[in-house]
């Protein structure tokens, strides 16, 4: 049993942490307040090779392991949740389906610019009538001549309106049920494709969440990802990887909440002493620290399993479930420790409280994850 990061992973963690502390954290409050997408940060992350971490070197990526990628999402989320989720959605949902299932030509065409962060990627699965029940999607794609003609609507697509490359799930064979779903790559500017409004969200306000519309949208036949009918299998595999990154994001946010709470409790004096001396506060801090450590280990282990090519569906679901609910509890306690000040926008716990709330919902609700885990445990 070996719990230490490799030297490479340690230097990586240290470098991303330094970048996040110096370049990302100072902008986090403003990004949240204005809801402006942090392009300058994303561009710099591209220059540092952070936008293509697990993409193989042959396609312009860093060729890093998935654990290093999880470390990057954790460290960036610790500074700014909006930046963390943007990286997570771009990488795990936008780029990885192309890495896993793309043809050689598709990989060469899209991945290098995505890895450099010059272009953003997104993944379009959810629809108004298909959330947790993802197989209920209604969007269709019909092959006409050399083109797919796509009709339908997507919602809650991270970076949807600003992405250059979006892989969407559509029914290509309506008679074949779950075996009739395929994933198709849509480039920004494709005729018949337009983005609707971006959601006005509770948190993660510096990230973009969009509605997408397809009205006789035409893309070349070659834009099919992998083989027809494999869409469901492809997006389930993609979501397994994505859950590790949402778990990492939750750990980063929870860690930020703990650090804020610790700092505040050591400084805030009531009844003649710092409130950190009171057992009620100490127990909250102890519970937060313990749960965060456990969540982190679950996330790292799921990433480690993935890096070893071992099946990790169950572990990714557990990591995301536990980490997101840990972040929820940690943010609640951190805000409670801050008292009235925590309820104002003067302290970052208020933002963390809103930002972390997404983690028990996106990429599999806690309820769906419990179902996934139970099916694995009960072998149903």
């Amino acid at each position: 049993m070996e719990f230490a990061l490799s030297e490479e992973q340690e230097l990586f963690q240290k470098s991303v942490r330094e970048f996040a502390e110096k370049e990302v954290r100072p902008l986090a409050q403003e990004t949240d307040a204005t809801g402006q997408f942090p392009w300058s940060v994303i561009r710099r992350m591209g220059e540092m090779g952070l936008m293509g971490l697990p993409i193989p070197e042959a396609y312009g990526g860093a060729g890093a392991d998935y654990l290093s990628y999880a470390l990057a999402v954790e460290e960036l989320s610790r500074a700014c949740g909006s930046t963390g989720i943007t990286l997570a959605a771009h990488t795990s949902l936008g780029c990885m389906p192309l890495v896993y299932f793309g043809t050689e030509e598709q990989k060469r065409r899209y991945l290098p610019a995505l890895a450099r962060g010059e272009k953003l990627a997104a993944f379009g699965l959810t629809e108004p009538g298909a959330g947790s029940d993802a197989s209920a999607i209604q969007t269709t794609a019909t092959l006409k001549g050399d083109e797919w003609v796509i009709n339908g609507q997507k919602v809650f697509i991270t970076s949807g309106s600003i992405a250059d490359v979006i892989t969407i799930a559509a029914r290509t064979d309506p008679s074949a049920g779950n075996k009739g779903i395929s994933n198709i790559i849509v480039e920004k500017g494709a005729p018949g494709f337009r983005a609707g409004r971006d959601e006005d969200k509770m948190g993660l306000r510096g990230s973009v969440t969009s509605q997408l519309f397809f009205e006789d949208c035409r893309v070349p036949k070659e834009n099919l990802l992998g083989r027809p009918g494999e869409g469901l299998r492809q997006f389930l595999i993609t979501l397994d990887g994505g859950r590790i990154s949402i778990g990492a994001m939750a750990v980063g946010l929870a860690q930020a909440a703990l650090e804020s709470a610790t700092r505040y409790a050591s400084q805030r004096v009531q009844f003649g002493q710092p409130i950190a001396r009171f057992q009620a506060i100490q127990w909250m801090i102890a519970d937060m620290a313990t749960e965060i450590e456990a969540a982190r280990l679950l996330v790292y282990r799921a990433a480690w399993l993935k890096d070893r090519g071992v099946r990790y569906t169950r572990e990714a679901a557990m990591a995301k479930l536990f980490a997101s609910e840990t972040a929820e509890r940690a943010a609640f306690k951190a805000l409670q420790i801050h008292g009235g000040y925590g309820y104002t926008r003067d302290y970052d716990v208020e933002r963390i409280y809103r930002d972390q709330r997404l983690c028990t919902i996106g990429e599999g609700t806690s309820e769906i994850l419990r179902w996934v885990i139970a099916r694995q445990v009960l072998q149903l």
């Binding site: 490799s6 030297e7 490479e8 340690e10 230097l11 990586f12 240290k14 470098s15 330094e18 970048f19 220059e47 540092m48 090779g49 952070l50 971490l53 070197e57 860093a62 060729g63 890093a64 290093s68 990057a72």
Partner: protein
């Protein structure tokens, strides 16, 4: 252009705490970093290479763990990294350190410029750079915040306490770089991966530097540490409780007693 940058691995003093009972540094669990101003020296060297071409060689003396610092230098983009590590080098003061570095640099053959950080955050001596220049018998400009090279002449702005000084000298020369000089780049993800998977940190011992053991390590160190101690804690201040005019009178008389006025 062949640029040698000397770097030191130091404990991150932001993270160092004192044991309140013994007054000694708690080093356990304290992360090691490249000395901050050595990073400014690395950045200056890398920028210069981008402008003029050539090679940047990072060199450090230290225990085997200093490998981490040199890997980071590789990840930032240096071409070659050399770790001077040998039991014979241990216990060196600034002069023996400068001697070891100097011998190693001479083994490298021709070089144009040596860059060092102004001083290390653990020792704060600012001596190794100047002593290294003396050892190599080349001109030095210390506390450099800005410099440019043209026609094998280096022109540098040197920070003084109350202003600046612009100096010019011929290459080869040694400059010590201050934190105002630039903002060091972050290692890139591909750089980190390359540094660990493809590149190597050369390890040089006493054989490789062909050094005289009498001039190296503890034996070669004229500085003897007599005693180390933490400065006594500052005495608590005293508040003079009186009406303002009376308090002022008392304060002035106290200051006169202590020859402060």
């Amino acid at each position: 252009m062949r640029i040698v940058v000397t770097i030191k691995q130091v404990p991150d003093t932001n993270e160092v705490r004192l044991d309140p009972r013994t007054g000694t540094l708690i080093r356990e669990g304290v992360p090691s970093i490249i000395n901050p101003e050595d990073k400014n020296a690395l950045e200056a060297a890398l920028t210069l290479r981008e402008q003029l071409g050539g090679e940047v060689i990072a060199i450090s003396m230290g225990p085997p763990q200093a490998d981490d610092a040199l890997r980071e230098a590789l990840a930032m983009g240096v071409d070659r990294a050399i770790l001077l590590t040998d039991r014979a080098f241990a216990g060196a003061d600034t002069w023996a350190t400068a001697t070891t570095l100097g011998m190693a640099i001479q083994r490298l053959g021709q070089f144009d410029l040596v860059l060092a950080g102004r001083q290390a955050i653990d020792g704060d001596t600012a001596q190794v750079g100047p002593q290294l220049a003396e050892y190599l018998n080349i001109p030095q400009i210390t506390y450099v915040r800005e410099f440019a090279i043209q026609d094998r002449q280096v022109k540098a702005t040197r920070t003084l306490e109350d202003g600046f000084e612009v100096l010019e000298t011929a290459l080869p020369a040694l400059l010590t770089i201050t934190k105002e000089a630039n903002k060091p780049r972050y290692p890139t993800a591909p750089g980190i991966i390359r540094a660990y998977r493809e590149q190597t940190v050369e390890q040089w011992g006493i054989q490789e530097v062909q050094g005289d053991p009498e001039k190296l390590g503890l034996k070669g160190s004229p500085t003897q540490v007599k005693r180390s101690f933490s400065p006594p804690p500052k005495e608590p201040g005293e508040i003079i409780q009186a009406a303002p005019a009376e308090a002022a009178r008392q304060l002035i008389s106290r200051m006169k007693q202590r020859n402060l006025l």
